[in-house]
C-alpha cells in the first residue's frame, strides 16, 4: 500500500515514455519490502514521502523546497546542495533531502560493476534516487541527511577512488563529448583533455576562489554535441587546419545511391534521390565546393569547417590531419544585458598531452585576469564585455586577428592609448595659441 494517495502523479504512469512516477513507486515498494535486509541510514519511507510531497506540488502548482543553507563536506566549498522541505511534519522522510554531485567519468562510460557499487552506497545511505545525470554532467545523488554526507564522501573516496564534483563559485565539473572513443569527427581526445584539466585544477574545483562559477566543456568538432559554445565560460572545440580528405569513389557511391547520405539519419521519409548539388554543394555556407566532372573539389582555404558536407557524406569526406582546437570564451546568461555565446579567443592551438600550452598560455592568464579584475558574481563573459576583447588579447599576449571578430567596428569611437599617438596627450596650449588666436 502506498503511503500517500497520488491521483495526479498516477496520471503520469500511462503513455509510452518511461515514467519517473512508476520508477519512484517501484523504488518505494522495494525499500518497504527490503528483501535484502539493508540497514537504511535515512528514513525507509523517503521515496513515499517524496511522492507525497510532489503530489502536493502538483495540486498547488508550487514547490515545497527551501534553500539549503550551508552543508557540505569538510574542506570542500561545493559538491553538496542543501535542501529542506517546508512541510516536514507531513513528510518527515524528506525533511532533510540534500544532493551530492559525484564527478562523472569522461564520456559517461560505465561498467555495471562500478555503478552497482555506487548504488550500494546510495541505497544504504540515501534515498536511492539519482539523476543520471545533472545538467553540468555530474552523477547526482538526490536526497540524504546531513550526518550521511561525510560517510558517503568517505566511502566514495576510500572504497571507490571517486571524488565529488564542483558547485559554487569555482570550477564546475568539466564535461566532454564522446569524441574519439567513438566518433570519427573528433579532432582531439576530448576525454583526455577533460580528465587532465579536471585533475590539474582540483583545487579550483573544490575550493571557491573565483568571482563566480566557471565552466569548461569539450566538443570534439564544430557539431558541438555538448553545446560548449553556449554553456561554457571556456569552450574547447576541435578543428583542423589542412584539407578535408576526399575519397572520390565514395563520393560517386553517394551520388549513385549505394551509400545513404548522413549515415541514414533521414531514413524516415522519402526525400527523393540524393542530389549532391542541392544537398551538399549548394548548402556549403562558403560556396567552396564544386563538381569538376566526376571529381568533387574543395577549395580548402575558403572552407570554414562547418561540418555539413562531412556530416552528409561521412564515408567520402574526413576531417583533415593537422588537428587541434579552437578556444572560445565568455558564454553566459542574458542577465543582464543579453545572453552571450562564446567568443573565439584562440583560433587554433595544438591539443597534445600534457597540454602545457593550453594551461599556461590560455587558461591561467585568463583566470589571473578574471580573479584580479572580476567583480563578485561577474562571469568571465561579463568581464570581457566590460573591459573589451582588446583586453583579452592583451592578457593572452597575442596579436589581434580578424578571425576573432564577426566584423570590424562600425563606429569610429576608438579609445587611443596615449603612447599610440605621437607626442602623447600633454600639449602646450601657449605654443598652440601662437598659431591660433583666442
Amino acid at each position: 500500500m502506498a503511503k500517500h494517495k497520488t491521483p495526479l502523479l498516477d496520471q503520469l504512469e500511462s503513455g509510452p515514455w518511461p515514467s519517473f512516477v512508476s520508477d519512484l513507486k517501484q523504488q518505494a515498494e522495494k525499500r518497504a519490502k527490503n528483501v535484502e535486509g539493508i540497514e537504511f541510514q535515512i528514513p525507509v519511507d523517503v521515496v513515499d514521502d517524496l511522492l507525497g510531497l510532489l503530489e502536493l506540488s502538483f495540486k498547488q502548482g508550487r514547490t515545497h523546497w527551501k534553500h539549503g543553507g550551508i552543508v557540505g563536506v569538510f574542506g570542500y566549498g561545493g559538491g553538496v546542495i542543501g535542501r529542506y522541505c517546508d512541510q516536514p511534519q507531513m513528510f518527515p522522510g524528506v525533511a532533510h533531502f540534500h544532493t551530492m554531485r559525484v564527478a562523472q567519468p569522461g564520456g559517461k562510460f560505465y561498467t555495471s560493476e562500478y555503478l552497482r557499487q555506487l548504488c550500494d552506497i546510495w541505497d544504504l545511505r540515501g534515498s536511492g534516487i539519482t539523476n543520471m545525470h545533472g545538467s553540468t554532467g555530474d552523477i547526482i545523488f538526490l536526497g540524504t541527511t546531513t550526518p550521511q554526507l561525510e560517510e558517503i564522501f568517505f566511502e566514495l573516496t576510500h572504497n571507490m577512488n571517486q571524488d565529488l564534483g564542483g558547485s559554487g563559485s569555482n570550477l564546475r565539473t568539466p564535461a566532454d563529448c564522446i569524441g574519439q572513443a567513438r566518433c570519427e569527427y573528433a579532432c582531439y581526445d576530448t576525454q583526455d583533455l577533460c580528465y587532465d584539466l579536471t585533475n590539474e585544477y582540483q583545487d579550483e574545483l573544490h575550493r571557491p576562489a573565483f568571482p563566480y562559477k566557471f565552466k569548461f566543456k569539450f566538443d570534439g568538432c564544430p557539431n558541438c554535441c555538448v553545446a560548449s559554445i553556449a554553456r561554457a565560460d571556456m569552450s574547447f572545440i576541435g578543428t583542423w587546419k589542412d584539407d578535408i580528405k576526399i575519397d572520390q569513389k565514395a563520393v560517386q557511391a553517394y551520388i549513385g545511391g549505394e551509400l545513404v547520405p548522413n549515415g541514414g539519419a533521414h531514413s524516415g521519409r522519402d526525400w527523393g534521390k540524393f542530389d549532391i548539388q542541392k544537398e551538399v554543394i549548394g548548402l556549403c555556407p562558403t560556396g567552396c565546393m564544386v563538381m569538376d566532372g566526376k571529381t568533387l573539389k574543395i577549395n580548402n582555404r575558403e572552407c570554414t569547417r562547418c561540418m555539413h558536407c562531412i556530416n552528409v557524406m561521412p564515408r567520402a569526406l574526413r576531417i583533415g590531419n593537422e588537428r587541434g582546437l579552437s578556444i572560445l570564451a565568455g558564454a553566459k546568461a542574458p542577465i543582464l544585458d543579453g545572453a552571450q555565446m562564446g567568443t573565439l579567443i584562440v583560433p587554433f592551438i595544438e591539443a597534445e598531452a600534457p597540454y602545457t600550452k593550453i594551461k599556461e598560455t590560455v587558461i591561467e592568464p585568463i583566470w589571473d585576469w578574471w580573479m584580479e579584475e572580476g567583480k563578485n558574481r561577474e562571469r568571465l563573459g561579463e568581464l570581457m564585455k566590460r573591459q573589451g576583447l582588446q583586453k583579452v588579447i592583451e592578457v593572452l599576449g597575442v596579436d589581434p586577428d580578424p578571425r576573432m571578430v564577426q566584423e570590424p567596428r562600425s563606429n569610429p569611437y576608438i579609445f587611443w592609448k596615449e603612447d599610440e599617438v605621437p607626442g602623447g596627450f600633454e600639449r602646450d596650449i601657449n605654443e598652440f595659441r601662437k598659431h591660433h588666436l583666442r
Binding site: Q26, R62, Q104, T111, F154
Partner: protein
C-alpha cells in the same frame, strides 16, 4: 536503524582523509572494442532509429543501441540497466548528454536479442522502461533540470512536463522523418541550470509575481545585505516597516524592476515567490548550438505564457507538437527549426505554427532589444 560508520571519525576529520582525486579515469570503463579502436573510427551509420554502427579502420564494428530514459532514475532502475548490460554486452554502457542510455555491443548478432529484450521491459503503469530511438533526424530526449522534485525556485515542474511532452512526441523519438535534428530542453526557472537558450524548442518555467515579504521574520532569518546584493536588477532596498506596532528592519522590492528570478529567495527564505496563478511556462524556439551550415543561435520567445496544468500540461504539449508538425511539413532537408523560421520569416512562422503574436514577444529588455526590431522595408504580407 543503527548508525553504520564508514570509518570516518568526526572527531578527526582529517584522519585518513582523501581529497582532490577527481573522477575515475574514462578508459577504465571503455569496452574492449573502444579501447582498441579509439581515434581510429572510419564512419558511422544508423541501421534503424536508435541503432548505430561505427566501423573502425581495423574493420572492427561497434553497435550502439540508444534508449530514452528519465534522468530522474532510481537505483532499482540503474540495477536493471546493469543487469541488461551484463546479459548482452559484457556490462558496458554509457549515458549521452541528453540522458539517453547506450548499450555498447561488439557484434551485430547481439543487437536483435537486446532489442527484443528491451521491448519487453515495461513499468507496472505500462510505460516503456527502455524505448529505443533518439538518433538522427528525429526528436531526441529532453534535457531538463530539477523542478518541484528538488529545487526551491522552480516556476514549473521538470520531470512532469517532460514526461507529458515526450509522450506526445514519442513517435518522432523512434523515427527519422524530421528535416534535421530537433532538440527540446526544459529549465524550470530563468536561472536555466540546463541552458535551454539554444534549443530548437525550449520550455522555460517563469514566475510572474515579485517575491512576498515575510517582514516579521525577514531580519531574523536573512542577512539583509546579502538579499539586496543578490538582486540582478537592484530592485531591493533596505526598509523599516511596522508590523503589529513593532518597528522592524526589512526590505522593500521595487516591483517594476523585478524580473522574478528568485535570486533573493535563494539568499533569503523570507522572500518566497512561488504562486499558483503567477507561475507557468514560456516557450522558446529556433536556437541551436551546432556550427553546421549556419552559426549557433539563441532560441526566441514564441509563447509568452502557458499556465501550469499539472499533471499533463496539455497546452504546452499541444503547442510544441504543433510547431514540430509545421516544421516537419514545411522545412527543407537539413534545415534546423531556427534556420527554417529565418528563411520563411518570423511573420510566417507565427502563421504556420498558428501562434498568436503578442506584445510580450517584442524585446524591450535593455540595449540589444533595439536590434531585434525590423530595420528594413523587407517583410512579408
Amino acid at each position: 536503524m543503527a548508525f553504520i560508520s564508514s570509518g570516518y571519525n568526526p572527531e578527526k576529520p582529517m584522519e585518513n582523509r582523501i581529497t582532490d582525486i577527481g573522477p575515475r579515469k574514462y578508459d577504465e570503463f571503455y569496452p574492449p572494442v573502444i579501447a582498441k579502436n579509439k581515434g581510429k573510427w572510419l564512419y558511422h551509420e544508423y541501421l534503424q532509429p536508435g541503432v548505430l554502427v561505427h566501423v573502425a579502420e581495423s574493420g572492427d564494428e561497434l553497435y550502439t543501441v540508444r534508449c530514452g530514459g528519465a534522468r530522474l532514475m532510481t537505483t532499482t532502475h540503474i540495477r536493471e540497466i546493469c543487469e541488461i548490460a551484463d546479459k548482452h554486452c559484457g556490462g558496458y554502457f554509457r549515458f549521452t548528454t541528453r540522458n539517453n542510455i547506450e548499450f555498447l555491443l561488439d557484434s551485430k548478432a547481439k543487437v536483435k536479442p537486446l532489442l527484443d529484450d528491451l521491448a519487453g521491459r515495461k513499468f507496472k503503469g505500462g510505460s516503456f522502461k527502455f524505448p529505443v530511438g533518439g538518433t538522427g533526424a528525429g526528436v531526441s530526449n529532453i534535457v531538463h533540470t530539477q523542478g518541484w522534485i528538488h529545487c526551491h525556485t522552480p516556476a514549473t515542474d521538470a520531470s512532469g512536463p517532460v514526461k507529458a511532452v515526450m509522450d506526445e512526441l514519442f513517435a518522432d523519438f523512434q523515427q527519422h522523418r524530421m528535416p534535421a535534428h530537433v532538440r527540446v530542453s526544459l529549465a524550470c526557472c530563468l536561472n536555466m541550470c540546463g541552458a535551454v537558450h539554444c534549443s530548437d524548442i525550449a520550455i522555460l518555467g517563469y514566475h510572474r509575481k515579485p517575491p512576498m515579504l515575510d517582514h516579521e521574520y525577514l531580519d531574523k532569518m536573512c542577512e539583509i545585505p546579502l538579499a539586496i546584493a543578490a538582486c540582478p536588477t537592484a530592485a531591493i532596498k533596505p526598509a523599516k516597516v511596522e508590523v503589529k506596532g513593532e518597528k522592524l528592519n526589512s526590505v522593500a522590492v521595487n516591483n517594476e524592476r523585478c524580473m522574478y528570478c528568485g535570486n533573493c529567495y535563494t539568499m533569503c527564505p523570507s522572500m518566497p515567490l512561488a504562486d499558483t496563478e503567477g507561475d507557468g511556462i514560456v516557450i522558446m524556439a529556433g536556437g541551436k548550438v551546432s556550427n553546421r551550415i549556419s552559426a549557433p543561435k539563441f532560441s526566441k520567445v514564441v509563447v509568452a505564457f502557458i499556465p501550469n496544468e499539472a499533471p499533463r500540461w496539455p497546452q504546452t504539449a499541444k503547442v510544441i507538437k504543433g510547431m514540430i508538425e509545421a516544421y516537419a511539413k514545411d522545412a527543407q532537408k537539413y534545415e534546423r527549426l531556427g534556420d527554417w523560421a529565418e528563411r520563411i520569416g518570423w511573420e510566417r512562422f507565427f502563421e504556420k505554427c498558428e501562434l498568436d503574436f503578442t506584445h510580450h514577444l517584442i524585446d524591450d529588455f535593455r540595449d540589444p532589444a533595439y536590434y531585434t526590431w525590423r530595420q528594413t522595408t523587407q517583410f512579408k504580407f
